[in-house]
């Protein structure tokens, strides 16, 4: 491996330590709180599915019932398992009773706390076993068929109809895709519930639902068999329902998920307290399921300048890594995001892009980095866009990126048509093949533009992280540090779903998962 950066590795240590302390400070708050969505995720992990009165999903009805009764500080497990124990019902039965107004969990006479916890652990263990089996199924496939060399081709489908999505996804796999992402319907991240059932009419995307996950997983398993290669499935967890969607992904064997509270805070105006608490549990589940998370730092470069704000991306990656570690994730699961977003008119932009991409690669050697194509400077000039994507593809293979989001020439126009995607895949495959060993072929010149740029960005990231440590993460966000977007700790959607844990609060998944010991 030759394209190796010479940077001051002590700065990397300093950056990581600052990030550790920054997240440590927030972690206190996180661990003292739970949220409606976290508790709904627990309910889902108990196997609850389906809708109740007014078509509201049962997990929502259950948690509302508890919250309305003032009992959420104990956690949903407490009340659901109490009812299960008392009435010898399954979780689903309990939920159905609540969902049809036939049971008020708060009013059920309270069983012995030991008994409640035991019940909870028992059913939690069942789900965790299922998740472990999913993990084994996945590794079974991969052992059988092997893994394609990175960068992996990550491709979106976005028809709004899960059955059309299946057609597009299977054909994309045949054309060469390694990972299929089903784009969510616009603004699903702002819904405070997870829709149910198979979607046939989404707006610029298809809802993330358990049923859609199942349908697509099955379709991809089918085409994986056909091709003798495991096609990964990904979807979006970030948003008001992050832990619930994470739970569904774990149960339905998704392989990756976009899962980042920073994205929700900045680009969806979700309350930071809410989503940081949510993220902790979401990532615990994903860690357990061997799901690679994708973080959203790439988005910062759509609202801020890629040349000037590279340090905000790197700083955020360090923070995101630490948050992930605190949820028990290993480096192999932390798909930190970054992007190729410099102005095409920037002299030596290719070299600076390579510098930034290598720097992320160097700072997070084991992470399956997610690399995003040019979007902001894409215009209706599809010819120009296609060659910008070619330079992106080159940078990706040259710097050994891992999860490669296909750049599509119609980025500034519409979500990809069938042939847009085919041309994009053709572009990536051509460049990847044509430059396959670029990474091993060159050494960087000492003191050259790339080395200098990488060192500058690293130094600025350390400075920024130490500033953030000083003011605290929430204040830093309020200052507009990331993507020039300012968000207040008490602003945004979903703060009403944040609840301080009482002394009796418990969540069997925390207990069981953390048994292995994180951080």
């Amino acid at each position: 491996m030759a394209l190796k950066l010479r940077v001051d590795d002590k700065l990397i240590v300093r950056a990581r330590e600052a990030a550790h302390r920054i997240t440590g400070e927030v972690q206190g708050f996180i661990e003292q709180h739970t949220t409606t969505s976290t508790e709904r995720a627990v309910v889902r992990l108990f196997g609850v599915e389906g809708k109740g009165l007014d078509d509201v999903p049962l997990p929502n009805l259950v948690v509302e019932n508890i919250q309305d009764g003032g009992g959420l500080d104990k956690g949903a497990s407490y009340w659901v398992c109490n009812a299960m124990a008392r009435h010898s019902l399954s979780a689903q039965e309990v939920a159905q009773a609540v969902g049809h107004g036939k049971l008020d969990l708060i009013k059920v006479a309270q069983a012995d706390e030991g008994r409640i916890r035991e019940t909870a652990h028992l059913i939690a263990q069942e789900t965790l076993d299922r998740i472990t089996r999913n993990r084994q199924t996945r590794s079974g496939f991969i052992n059988q068929w092997g893994e394609r060399p990175a960068p992996w081709l990550y491709i979106i489908v976005a028809t709004g109809n899960i059955y059309e999505d299946v057609i597009q996804a299977q054909n994309a796999a045949r054309q060469g895709a390694d990972v299929i992402a089903v784009i969510r319907s616009t603004a699903q991240s702002l819904l405070d519930y997870v829709p149910e059932g198979a979607t046939t009419e989404g707006f610029a995307g298809t809802y993330a639902t358990q049923e859609n996950f199942r349908i697509m997983r099955r379709a991809l398993d089918e085409v994986s068999e056909e091709l003798g290669r495991y096609i990964r499935l990904t979807n979006y967890a970030s948003g008001l329902c992050m832990p619930e969607i994470a739970a569904l992904g774990a149960v339905e064997r998704l392989d990756m998920m976009l899962s980042d509270s920073m994205y929700g805070i900045l680009f969806r105006d979700i309350n930071m307290k809410r989503t940081l608490v949510d993220q902790h549990f979401a990532r615990m589940i994903q860690a357990q399921a061997g799901i690679i998370i994708n973080t959203g730092e790439d988005n910062y470069l759509t609202t801020d300048d890629a040349y000037e704000a590279a340090n905000t991306v790197l700083a955020s990656q360090f923070i995101n890594e630490q948050f992930a570690h605190r949820s028990g994730m290993t480096d192999e699961l932390i798909g930190l995001g970054h992007a190729f977003e410099m102005d095409p008119r920037q002299e030596d932009g290719l070299l600076y892009e390579m510098a930034d991409a290598l720097l992320s690669r160097h700072c997070f050697p084991k992470a399956p980095l997610k690399y995003m194509p040019p979007t902001r400077h894409m215009t209706g000039n599809i010819f120009m866009g296609h060659i910008m994507d070619a330079m992106f593809n080159l940078t990706s293979v040259a710097t050994n990126q891992h999860i490669h989001l296909i750049g599509v020439m119609t980025e500034a126009i519409h979500t990809p048509f069938l042939h847009d995607r085919a041309l994009a895949i053709e572009n990536a495959r051509y460049v990847f093949g044509y430059a396959r060993h670029f990474f091993e072929e060159f050494d960087l010149k000492k003191g050259g533009l790339i080395e200098k740029r990488a060192n500058d960005v690293l130094q600025q990231s350390v400075d920024l992280l130490e500033h953030i440590e000083h003011v605290g993460l929430m204040t830093a966000i309020a200052e507009g540090t990331f993507g020039r977007v300012r968000r207040q700790p008490t602003g945004g959607k979903g703060l009403d779903g944040v609840v301080a844990k009482g002394p009796q609060h418990f969540n069997p998944f925390f207990d069981l998962i953390l048994k292995g010991g994180a951080h």
Binding site: N171, T186, D269, T302, T303, G380
Partner: protein
Amino acid sequence: MEPNWVKPYGDTTNDGAMQLSFTLPVKNGGVAREAAKRLCESMNLENVQIVHQKDLGGGYTFFVVYGRCTQAVDISDIHVPEVQAPSWDMHQVNTIAHEKLGRKITVVGACTGTDAHTVGLDAILNMKGFHGNYGLERYSEFTVHNLGSQVPNETLVAKAIEVNADAILVSQVVTQKNIHLSNLTQLVDLLEAEGLRDSIILIAGGPRITHELAVELGYDAGFGPGTVPSEVASYLLKELLGRKGIMI
């Protein structure tokens, strides 16, 4: 006026040269090729050359085609409204506003409906501006209220009333299912219902907005890709002066 017919140009005047690409839901082969050819002919192309055809799987075939367009357009017949504005820079706008208008200009801006794409609006309004051209916040003679993303039209109108705005600046980026058209139209309806339409300058912007589209929808002006803040500022000032009867 004399008619002035124009046709596409490749390398010889009136050669009609055109490039097309599209996918047909037909299995790759001779039938697909012939279908592509007939389709192009039905689009008034002649000398249709299928220069590339590729199997996309699942019974779909992609085509790249060159042909010669038999149609022409009479451009003497085309009258497109264009934004009428001087090209003042920030300094000139400030000076003229100060001297001739004699008061500050208040604007309210927002991405309306479910649209969360603030970058374009911010490029016009924020200090930093766009391509080295400062945004309206930086103008001493402008007072800017940027409401940000996903703002309901009702909120926007209420704010305009509250601050007694001279102008409303709306950004619309998402165009799927023509959502931008309904958002933009609804705002005009609201303003008319409030009896405010004539007393306020109404501007739309976005990558698919043209001045002619904006005017058609009942706006005073529309700004598309590549707009810089000083163009918007100059237009606003000129319009306000015009409404006061001051011509420049």
